[in-house]
C-alpha cells in the first residue's frame, strides 16, 4: 500500500525536482549527441545519470519510501565503475590516434 505523506506547504513541490531532472537529462542527451570531445561526452553521460538520481530521490521522498535511495546508490556505483572503464577506453583511443575527437573514430564500421 502506498501511503502518501501529507505535503508541507513550505516544501518544494515534486514537479520542480522532476523539471530539474528532465532538464539535466536533456542537457546530457544533447551533450552526447552534439559534442565531439570524448571527455565532454562522458561528462554528459554522468549528467544524465545524475538527473535520473535526482528524480529517484524526489520520488523517494514524495512517496516516503526508501527504495529510491538504494537505487541511487546503485546508479552511483555503476557510474563509478563506468567512469573507470570509460576513461580506460578513452586512453586507449588516444593511444591509437593522438586525438579524442569522436568524429575521427568510426572503427565500429568494420
Amino acid at each position: 500500500m502506498l501511503k502518501v505523506r501529507s505535503i508541507d506547504m513550505e516544501m518544494v513541490p515534486l514537479t520542480h525536482y522532476l523539471f530539474l531532472s528532465a532538464t539535466l537529462f536533456v542537457i546530457g542527451v544533447v551533450g552526447v549527441l552534439v559534442r565531439r570531445n570524448a571527455i565532454v561526452v562522458f561528462m554528459s553521460i554522468e549528467i544524465m545519470l545524475n538527473a535520473v538520481n535526482i528524480s529517484l530521490i524526489a520520488f523517494d521522498r514524495y512517496l516516503n519510501l526508501h527504495d529510491g535511495q538504494i537505487f541511487s546508490f546503485m546508479v552511483m556505483c555503476v557510474a563509478a565503475a563506468e567512469v573507470s572503464v570509460g576513461l580506460a577506453i578513452i586512453i586507449s583511443l588516444f593511444r591509437n590516434k593522438p586525438t579524442i575527437n569522436l568524429d575521427e573514430f568510426n572503427i565500429m564500421k568494420s
Partner: protein, 656 residues
C-alpha cells in the same frame, strides 16, 4: 496351396534386374545372360505351378487374391499391394513369361557383341517385372504402376543405342505419346474412385451394374478415358505413330515389348474392365471401329515399307486393331485368343527378322536382301510357318483366331466392320508374303561384301519353339465343335456378365431420378445359336481371301518383279501411303510445333521474364534496400546514440 506362390512370379525378374543393373559389369556376360534368362525362366516355371493349382480349383472359385500389404491408406482411400490370379491374368502370365523367356534366351545370342550387355538385360528384366505387375495387380493402381513401368522400360530400350539421335527421338516420341494415353487412364481411375470409393477390381466390377446406369454419360466417359489409355499403349489410331519408330530399338525388344506383350496391354485392360464396357454401348462401338480402321490403315502402310522391321511393326498395329475389333463386338475370348496366337507368331517373325539382320550384319532394307532361304534354312522355315500363321492359312493358329474375330464381327450384324476385317486379312496376306518373297526368295540383292550366315543355336532354338507354338496354337480354340474351344471354357467365368439384372438396376436408378427408362428389351434377346454353316462358309471365304493375297504377292514379287514398280510409278496415292499418309507431318504441324512454340514462348516470356524476373526482382529490391540501410551503420557512436534517442521518443509516442 500352389497359388500362394503368386508373389514370386514378378519377384524373380526384379531380383534379376537388381543384380544385373548393379553388378552386371563385374560378373561378366555369361553370368548376366544366365541370371536374366534364368530369372524369367523361373517365373515361367512358377507360373506353370500356379496354373496347375488354378486348374485344380473348381471353375467358379478360380479367383485368387493375394494381398501383400496395404500400400497406403488416406481417409477413405486405401490402396493394397496385392495380386489377383484368375483365368484371364493366368493366360496373360503364361504367354508373357513363356514368350519372354524364349526372347531372353534369344537375346543372349543376339546381343552378344554389345558392350552394355548388362544394361540391356537389366532393362529387359525390369520390363518383365512391370509387365507382370500390370497383368497381376488386383487393383487399378497396381495396374497403373505396371502400366507406367512398361512405358518407361520401353523408352529405355528404344533408346538403347542412345548415341544414335534417331533412337533417342523415337524413345522420346514413344514416351510422350504413351503419356497422353496414360493421362487419360489416370483420369479414368480417379473417376472410378470418385464413383465407387474403391479401386479394387473385384469391388468395382461387382458394384458396376448397381451404381452405373446403362448407356449413361458417366460410364461412357470412364470407358472412353480407359480406351484412350489403351490406344496410347496399344498403338491405335490416333496414337499409333510411335510404334513404327520404336523399331529403332534392338530386335528382341521389338519382339518382346512392341509385338508380343506390352502393346497388347491395352487390349488386356479393356478386357479386364469388361463389366464397365458392357454398360457403355457407345464406347464399344467406338472401340470396334477404331480397331477395324486401324487394322486396314496400318496394313496399307505395311504394304509399302521396305524396312523389314517397319513392315512387321505396321503388321503389329494392324493385328492389335483386330483385337480391339473383337473387344468392341464383345468377343473377349476371341480378342485374348488372337492376342496369344499373335504373341507366338509375331514374336517368331520379329526374332526371325532379327536373325536375318544378324546374318546380314545389320542390313534392314528388304531391297538389299533376297534368296536367303538357302543361307538360313532354320530361320527361313520358322519365318515361313509364322507368316502362314499370320496370313490365316488352315490349320495354323492365326487362321482360327482371326476367323473367330471375323465371325463375331459378322454375328454382331455389322457388315462394315466385317468388311474392314476381311479387307485387312487380304492385305495382311499380301504384305507378309511380299516380305517373305523379297527376303528369302527371288534373286539375291545382298551386298557382295556381306556373306549371309545362319544364326547360332541359342537364337534358332527359340525360333523353332515359337514356330511350333504358332503352328499348333490354334488348338486352344477349335471352333465348330461344342466344348472344344478350350480357351473359351477357361475364360468364361471372367466374362460372365448378368445383363438382365444390370438393366433392371439401371431402370431402377433412372426411376429414382424421376426419369423414364428407355426400352432395352432388344438387348435381352437370347443369342442365336452358333451357326456352324455360316462359320464354315466364312472360313472358306477367309481362306480363299488369304490365298488370293498370297497369290497377288507371288505375282508381284516372284513372277513379274517389275510389276510393282510399273504399277506404282508416279502414282500420288502410292506416294501418300508410302509416306505413311503424312500423319507424322500432320502431327508435327498441328500438335508438335504449336506445343514447342508455346513451350518456347512460355519459357522465354513467362518463365525467363515473369517468374525469373519476379525472383530476381525481389532479390534486387532487397539488395537496394539493404544498400540504403547500410548508410545507417556509419560507425560513429554518436549516430547510434541518436538513433537510440529517436527510437525512445518513438516508443514514448506510441505508448502514449
Amino acid at each position: 496351396m500352389l497359388l500362394k506362390l503368386t508373389s514370386l512370379v514378378p519377384l524373380y525378374p526384379l531380383i534379376g534386374c537388381i543384380i544385373n543393373g548393379f553388378f552386371g559389369l563385374r560378373i561378366g556376360k555369361n553370368a548376366v545372360g544366365l541370371i536374366a534368362a534364368g530369372s524369367v525362366g523361373l517365373s515361367f516355371l512358377t507360373t506353370l505351378i500356379i496354373f496347375i493349382g488354378l486348374v485344380m480349383t473348381p471353375a467358379e472359385e478360380r479367383v485368387f487374391e493375394q494381398v501383400l500389404f496395404t500400400w497406403m491408406a488416406v481417409g477413405d482411400f486405401t490402396a493394397e499391394f496385392g495380386f489377383q490370379v484368375d483365368p484371364l491374368s493366368m493366360t496373360m502370365m503364361l504367354f508373357v513369361t513363356g514368350v519372354g523367356f524364349l526372347i531372353h534366351v534369344y537375346s543372349i545370342g543376339y546381343m552378344h557383341e554389345e558392350y552394355s550387355f548388362y544394361r540391356f538385360f537389366a532393362y529387359m528384366n525390369l520390363f518383365m517385372f512391370s509387365m507382370l505387375l500390370l497383368i497381376m495387380g488386383n487393383n487399378f493402381l497396381i495396374m497403373f504402376i505396371g502400366w507406367e513401368g512398361v512405358g518407361c522400360c520401353s523408352y529405355f530400350l528404344i533408346g538403347y543405342y542412345f548415341e544414335k539421335k534417331s533412337a533417342c527421338d523415337a524413345g522420346t516420341k514413344a514416351f510422350v505419346m504413351n503419356r497422353v494415353g496414360d493421362f487419360a487412364f489416370l483420369l479414368a481411375v480417379m473417376y472410378i474412385f470418385n464413383i465407387f470409393g474403391s479401386i479394387d477390381f473385384t469391388t468395382v466390377f461387382h458394384a458396376a451394374p448397381e451404381k452405373l446406369i446403362y448407356d449413361s454419360e458417366t460410364v461412357t466417359i470412364i470407358t472412353m478415358l480407359l480406351f484412350v489409355g489403351a490406344c496410347g499403349k496399344s498403338a491405335q489410331i490416333p496414337l499409333y505413330t510411335w510404334l513404327p519408330d520404336a523399331m529403332e530399338g534392338p530386335t528382341p525388344v521389338s519382339a518382346l515389348i512392341h509385338a508380343a506383350t506390352m502393346v497388347t496391354a491395352g487390349v488386356y485392360m479393356v478386357v479386364r474392365c469388361n463389366a464397365l464396357f458392357a454398360l457403355a454401348p457407345i464406347t464399344m462401338w467406338t472401340v470396334a471401329f477404331i480397331g477395324g480402321a486401324t487394322a486396314i490403315f496400318a496394313a496399307t502402310i505395311g504394304m509399302t515399307q521396305f524396312d523389314i522391321k517397319r513392315v512387321l511393326a505396321y503388321s503389329t498395329v494392324s493385328q492389335i486393331g483386330y483385337m480391339f475389333m473383337a473387344v468392341g463386338v464383345g468377343a473377349y475370348t476371341a480378342a485374348i485368343f488372337h492376342m496369344v496366337t499373335h504373341a507366338f507368331f509375331k514374336a517368331c517373325l520379329f526374332l526371325g527378322s532379327g536373325s536375318v539382320i544378324h546374318g546380314l550384319h545389320g542390313e534392314q532394307d528388304m531391297r538389299k536382301m533376297g534368296a536367303l532361304k538357302s543361307h538360313m534354312p532354320i530361320t527361313f522355315v520358322t519365318f515361313f510357318v509364322s507368316t502362314l500363321a499370320i496370313a490365316g492359312i488352315f490349320p495354323l493358329s492365326g487362321f482360327f483366331s482371326k476367323d473367330e474375330i471375323l465371325y463375331h464381327a459378322l454375328m454382331d450384324g455389322n457388315f462394315i466392320l466385317w468388311g474392314m476385317g476381311i479387307t485387312g486379312a487380304l492385305l495382311t496376306a499380301f504384305y507378309m508374303f511380299r516380305l517373305v518373297f523379297m527376303t528369302f526368295f527371288g534373286k539375291s540383292n545382298v551386298d557382295p561384301q556381306v556373306h549371309p550366315h545362319e544364326s547360332p543355336k541359342i537364337m534358332t532354338m527359340p525360333l523353332v519353339i515359337l514356330a511350333g507354338l504358332a503352328f499348333f496354337g490354334g488348338a486352344l480354340g477349335i471352333p465348330l465343335f461344342h466344348g472344344w474351344h478350350i480357351l473359351h471354357n477357361w475364360l468364361e467365368p471372367v466374362f460372365y456378365f448378368d445383363m438382365p439384372s444390370a438393366l433392371e438396376h439401371s431402370a431402377h436408378l433412372l426411376h429414382e431420378q424421376g426419369k423414364h427408362a428407355p426400352s432395352w428389351s432388344h438387348l435381352l434377346q437370347p443369342e442365336g445359336d452358333h451357326n456352324v454353316w455360316v462359320e464354315i462358309a466364312l472360313m472358306l471365304l477367309s481362306l480363299s481371301i488369304a490365298v488370293a493375297g498370297i497369290f497377288g504377292a507371288y505375282i508381284c514379287y516372284i513372277k513379274k518383279p517389275h510389276l510393282p514398280d510399273l504399277l506404282t510409278e508416279g502414282q500420288w496415292g502410292y506416294d501418300l501411303v508410302k509416306n505413311k499418309y503424312d500423319v507424322d507431318e500432320i502431327y508435327d504441324e498441328t500438335i508438335v510445333k504449336p506445343t514447342l512454340e508455346g513451350s518456347k514462348l512460355l519459357w522465354k516470356e513467362c518463365d525467363a521474364k515473369g517468374i525469373d524476373g519476379a525472383v530476381n526482382g525481389t532479390a534486387q529490391i532487397l539488395g537496394w534496400l539493404s544498400n540504403q540501410a547500410r548508410n545507417f551503420q556509419s560507425g560513429f557512436v554518436r549516430n547510434y546514440a541518436l538513433f537510440m534517442v529517436v527510437g525512445f521518443i518513438g516508443l514514448l509516442i506510441i505508448s502514449l
